[in-house]
């Protein structure tokens, strides 16, 4: 009966998923896959890696869907699962990687206006260019809103290390923004 409808509310799909309906799962996946892949992309080097994170995340969503009691937005719940999936992926694949210290010239700074001029895909590309450690700290702190203490626990580093890595990540991003703005200006000119 549920799937005779042309449009399904998220609640309908959640109910369907809780009964184990494969069709409901597919529809729910299609509804959130695009947004969630964008979340995973920020934590990944490339799309392939992000899709691995996305797959693991959705499997967990369907397995744990009974745990969702309708408190808070469902999208937020799924998003948190995707972030956790990405963190897990990071632990598995990048834990042993040493944090690269990019030698960038200090003093150069990009202002907010410069960032605003870039589109989302450019910003995503900048983040992906960061080394895994910087990328993780920047994502968790600047975008997800985790504290340094939480990040330290997640990544197995100290709070101070989290702060310094964030600082480093920011300065790298600013430089990259300036470079990109310069390139865009040249193209435009």
């Amino acid at each position: 009966m549920l799937f005779l409808k042309l449009k399904h509310t998220t609640d309908d799909l959640i109910t369907g998923c809780k009964t184990g309906s494969r069709k409901a799962q597919e529809l729910l996946y299609k509804q959130f896959a695009g947004k969630m892949l964008a979340v995973c992309m920020r934590y990944a080097v490339d799309k392939m890696e992000a899709e691995d994170m996305l797959q693991n995340g959705f499997v967990r969503v369907f397995q744990k869907i009974d745990d969702y009691r309708g408190e808070g937005s469902f999208e937020g719940w799924v998003r948190r699962i995707m972030v956790h999936s990405s963190i897990e992926y990071y632990r598995k694949h990048h834990k042993m990687m040493q944090v690269e210290i990019d030698e960038t010239t200090p003093g150069q700074s990009a202002n907010a206006a410069a960032v605003a001029n870039l589109d989302a895909k450019d910003l995503m590309a900048l983040i992906q260019k960061l080394s895994p450690g910087y990328r993780m700290v920047f994502n968790l702190y600047a975008i997800e809103g985790y504290s340094h203490k939480e990040i330290g626990e997640i990544m197995g580093i100290s709070e101070g290390a989290s702060k310094s890595q964030l600082s480093r990540a920011r300065s790298i991003l600013k430089e990259q923004v300036i470079k990109m703005e310069g390139r865009n200006y040249e193209h435009a000119g």
């Binding site: 597919e26 695009g34 920020r42 996305l54 499997v59 907010a112 989302a120």
Partner: protein, 297 residues
């Protein structure tokens, strides 16, 4: 942290928040494969549980089977005692293969029911002792010829006729001598054909003994009949027991049903017969390869 940093974070967040990137088809296929794999793993769990419970059941069965030998011995000795008790009730005489306590109970019940009839015989004995002895002699002789399955009736009729006819009085010793062997032979011949009736002749052993301690031959005659009666119900022990006990508990119901289906002596499952038990307890299990029997005290 400078204000600029916060602004930059906010810009990154705002711009990336609305971004959507469509994944390739293989992601959904991978999800389906993983979910099915998890299901298959989960479906194994009940199978493992069932296997585990069967293993435990067999292990317990073997444990009780090994322990069951001791229990069987206990039951055997217990049965022996009961059989002895049966003989006592019958006041000696020939032994038989009394198989269970129920037989004793049954014979006792029947004895009580028929006490009145036998009492008449006793009074007759009291009045004319010598006559009865001679009558017995006649009876023994007649009975050896008469049809065996109506022994008691014939016996009674002979009693009455004997009084009127008044056969030639012989000495008591002669009567006893004659009576001894033929009586036993007759009883043995009667066993297969007679049903429960012969028990009736047996009851009044005690009064007979007290009134007439002089005539051991008379007692022998009675006990001979009694033993026969005890032995006979052994032909259908299970059914008789069930009927006597009645269905009061769920266990009794199971016993009746099992008795209908399972004709073995050790039923596939048997519950306790005791009346005072609120709950029925399993007293024996017979699975062919595993037999468990509890001594029901």
């Amino acid at each position: 942290m400078s204000m600029q940093d916060k602004e930059m974070d906010e810009l990154f967040r705002a711009k990336l928040d609305n971004l959507e990137i469509q994944p390739s088809d293989k992601v959904w296929k991978g999800i389906v494969v993983e979910l099915d794999g998890a299901k298959r793993k989960r479906s194994l769990v009940p199978v493992i549980r069932i296997a585990a419970s069967i293993t435990v059941f067999i292990a317990v069965g073997i444990f009780f089977m090994l322990k069951g030998d001791k229990v069987a011995d206990q039951v055997a000795t217990h049965m022996g005692i009961k059989q002895h008790g049966l003989k006592l009730t019958a006041k000696g005489g020939a032994t038989d293969k009394g198989e269970s306590v129920e037989h004793v109970l049954q014979s006792q019940q029947q004895l009580q029911q028929l006490a009145s009839e036998t009492a008449k015989q006793q009074t007759e004995h009291d009045k004319t002792t010598s006559e009865i002895k001679s009558i017995k002699a006649n009876t023994v002789k007649d009975n050896s010829i008469a049809a065996s399955n109506k022994l008691r009736i014939v016996n009674n009729s002979k009693h009455s006729t004997a009084k009127t006819v008044q056969p030639s009085v012989t000495e008591v010793r002669d009567v006893e001598e004659e009576k001894g062997l033929p009586l036993e032979q007759k009883t043995l011949a009667a066993l297969p054909e007679r049903e429960i009736k012969p028990t009736q002749a047996v009851v009044p052993d005690e009064p007979l003994n007290t009134d007439k301690p002089v005539i051991p031959g008379g007692d022998d005659f009675k006990t001979g009949n009694k033993i026969a009666s005890v032995q006979l119900p052994a032909a259908k022990p299970a059914k008789a027991a069930v009927k006597k006990h009645g269905i009061r508990t769920f266990g009794d119901l199971i016993n009746v049903v099992v008795a209908k289906v399972d004709k073995r002596q050790d039923k596939v499952i048997h519950f306790s017969d005791s009346d005072d038990d609120e709950e029925s307890n399993i007293t024996s299990i017979n699975l062919g390869f595993v037999k468990v029997k509890k001594d029901d005290k």
